[in-house]
């Protein structure tokens, strides 16, 4: 085990964390403002990835594909909000879970209908191909560094949006008192649609960025969705700051756990067994971390004021 390898894994963990943040930010925003639990958020991630892969294949440009992924995911989010989601705000969480579960079935099967069961592939744009040297002698892909940078930029942009703009002011007002801002003349239905589309666009962006690292296929959003749930439960549902810290914690814990646990175990037991036990334990690690955090703080690290 070298320093360079550990640094590489740490960066991988950061990259995973940043991507989880894009998912979790949308989920937590939608919950914070509208009180809605959206299981179909992973489907919007998938929509973004497919849009990017298809458009990039047509036009030959990853960047046009990236724009398309934002546009398609936001549009899909807005349509779903107008047709289905807005009927669910007054319902209990059980109805919300079921309706959005139904949406997942429809999105997944619909996508398979349109694009078939074979995965699509998305190439890393020429600008971001290659690798840069890391201190310690290893090399690290530029593209992954670019994802980390993009995630940091989005986090900053989101912070500015929410703390400095009129839309952000309304979002914050919506989080603290829904009826009041409606009474003050803000068109709350449009605000809800905008917030949902914004969350969808973030999910679509995450899908498109990750699509170039993995294959683009039906069901790709579901594991990410569940990790994003873990993130917002740890961070405190409704808190964007919590989502950021939770995402980085989960990303780094998961990646480093998979890297380190088998090695640590190898000091005590034979290597084959260490790999097996370590691998199984590492896959459970973030859930154990979640359980520990909840045992101390049942409402997450940064509990939102209400909810």
């Amino acid at each position: 085990m070298t320093f360079a390898l550990a640094l590489e894994q740490l960066l991988n963990g950061l990259q995973l964390g940043v991507m989880l943040f894009l998912m979790a930010a949308g989920l937590t925003l939608i919950f914070g403002v509208m009180g809605l639990i959206n299981l179909a958020h992973g489907s919007l991630y998938m929509v973004g990835a497919f849009a990017c892969a298809v458009v990039a294949a047509w036009t030959g440009s990853f960047w046009i594909g990236l724009v398309a992924s934002l546009a398609c995911a936001a549009a899909a989010g807005a349509v779903v909000e107008l047709l289905v989601i807005r009927r669910l705000y007054d319902r209990d969480h059980l109805d919300q879970v079921l309706a959005t579960f139904a949406l997942i079935l429809m999105f997944s099967e619909g996508t398979r209908w349109l694009f078939g069961s074979f995965p699509l592939y998305l190439d890393i744009p020429p600008l971001l191909q290659g690798a840069v040297p890391l201190p310690g002698g290893a090399e690290y892909p530029v593209y992954r560094l670019a994802i980390i940078a993009a995630g940091a930029a989005v986090a900053f942009g989101l912070y500015m949006l929410i703390s400095r703009t009129r839309l952000g002011m309304r979002i914050r007002a919506g989080e603290s008192d829904r009826e009041m801002i409606g009474a003050l003349g803000v068109d709350i239905r449009t605000l809800y649609t905008v917030v949902f589309a914004l969350g969808a666009a973030l999910a679509g962006l995450a899908g498109a960025l990750v699509g170039a690292l993995q294959s683009v296929q039906v069901g790709m959003g579901e594991p990410v969705l569940i990790l994003a749930f873990v993130v917002i439960v740890i961070g405190g549902i409704g808190s964007i700051k919590g989502a950021l810290l939770g995402a980085l914690l989960v990303g780094v814990t998961d990646t480093m756990g998979r890297f380190l646990l088998p090695k640590i175990l190898a000091l005590f037991v034979p290597p084959a067994q260490a790999g097996m036990i370590g691998g199984a334990a590492a896959s459970m690690l973030i859930y154990i971390v979640m359980a520990l955090i909840l045992a101390v703080k049942p409402r997450g690290l940064f509990p939102a004021a209400h909810a």
Binding site: V84, A102, S108, E222, I226, V233, M284, L294, R299
Partner: protein, 329 residues
């Protein structure tokens, strides 16, 4: 007066439902279509699993999105005990597995109960959306463990070569196995009815309706809920053991979050909190799956659409449609 009438109507429909489930396999047997016996067995087992969940979700209002963990656990108990019983390799303390259902069932039930106790003890400290997500996360933990632990097939699952034995019954005959599952289902539904009518059941329903009042009269909601959650996990675990024997195969897909979602769907399709809601829902679900699957390969799309319409526009489920509004709020 009107209430009494509705109750009678619901009871009548319940009897018809139970009778239909029994009649289908006999008719299938008479016409030489054993496939329908398997379908009916699937309905009975899914109904059993959902009856377990209904205890937590319907009576206690605890929306557990992680019951697949208990379902899969029961399945793996059946699979692992059977595989050790077959190979003769010792499992624990010199015990080398078994192919006897009367040993497998208690092990599955107790193990599911213990895991339910651990998951419930942590999850029930929270409520609402947190509870939904945390139960989901714990179920995923079990799922990933099953996928990454290679000893029992990992991602590929584990086959049960010969269906496990029950004294005096030829379990490999579809009809006999159906009857076993049917009896287990009826006993469990009876247990559900007893629990619902008991002091404990009243307290459980009261915690759903008004937690503060329950605490005020001196009952701890947490204990009531935890007890309900554990019993619920046990019932679903038993269903899992039967399900593994039905398919003679157990894999991580029994633990997947789709399974948890399906169990909730069964309850909602049938009618939340109703005695025979899970059976009605399971029958409807398996019928949809079979009928739609015969028409189009894309049946999941239409299943999603139907589910969406039921949630948005027909909230009482099938029993709500047939037997009027539920008696309790």
């Amino acid at each position: 007066m009107r209430e009494a009438m509705i109750v009678n109507r619901e009871n009548l429909i319940n009897v018809i439902l139970a009778g239909l489930l029994l009649a289908v396999p006999f008719a299938a047997n008479a016409f030489g279509e054993p496939f329908y016996i398997t379908l009916a067995t699937r309905v009975a087992i899914l109904a059993l699993a959902a009856t377990g969940l209904n205890l937590a979700l319907g009576l206690g209002g605890l929306v557990s999105f992680g019951h697949a963990a208990f379902f899969g656990l029961g399945g793996y108990v059946a699979g692992i005990l059977a595989s050790h019983g077959f190979s003769g390799e010792p499992l624990l303390f010199g015990f080398s597995g078994t192919n006897q259902m009367w040993v497998i069932w208690p092990v599955a039930v107790i193990l599911a109960g213990l895991v339910g106790l651990a998951i419930g003890a942590i999850s029930l400290r929270t409520s609402g959306v947190y509870f939904i997500m945390i139960t989901l996360a714990f179920a995923q933990m079990v799922y990933y463990f099953a996928v990454s632990w290679p000893a029992y097939g990992g991602e590929d699952g584990l086959s049960i070569l010969v269906r496990n034995q029950f004294p005096g019954v030829m379990t490999m005959r579809p009809m006999s196995f159906f009857l076993i599952c049917y009896v287990v289902l009826l006993v469990s539904v009876g247990l559900f009815a007893l629990i619902r009518a008991s002091r404990f059941g009243s307290a459980l329903q009261a915690t759903r309706q008004n937690e503060v009042r329950v605490a005020t009269v001196g009952i701890q909601p947490y204990r009531i809920r935890l007890t309900a959650f554990v019993i619920s996990a046990m019932m679903t675990g038993l269903a899992g053991a039967l399900f593994a024997d039905l398919n003679r195969f157990v894999s991580p897909s029994m633990l997947s979050w789709h399974m948890s979602g399906e169990l909730i769907v069964l309850i909602i399709l049938g009618g939340t909190g109703r005695l025979f809601g899970p059976l009605a829902g399971a029958a409807l679900y398996v019928a949809f799956e079979y009928a739609l699957g015969g028409i189009t390969e894309r049946w999941q799309f239409f299943l999603g659409l139907i589910l969406l319409l039921v949630v948005l526009f027909a909230r009482g489920g099938l029993l709500g449609l047939l037997a009027g509004r539920a008696r309790h709020g």
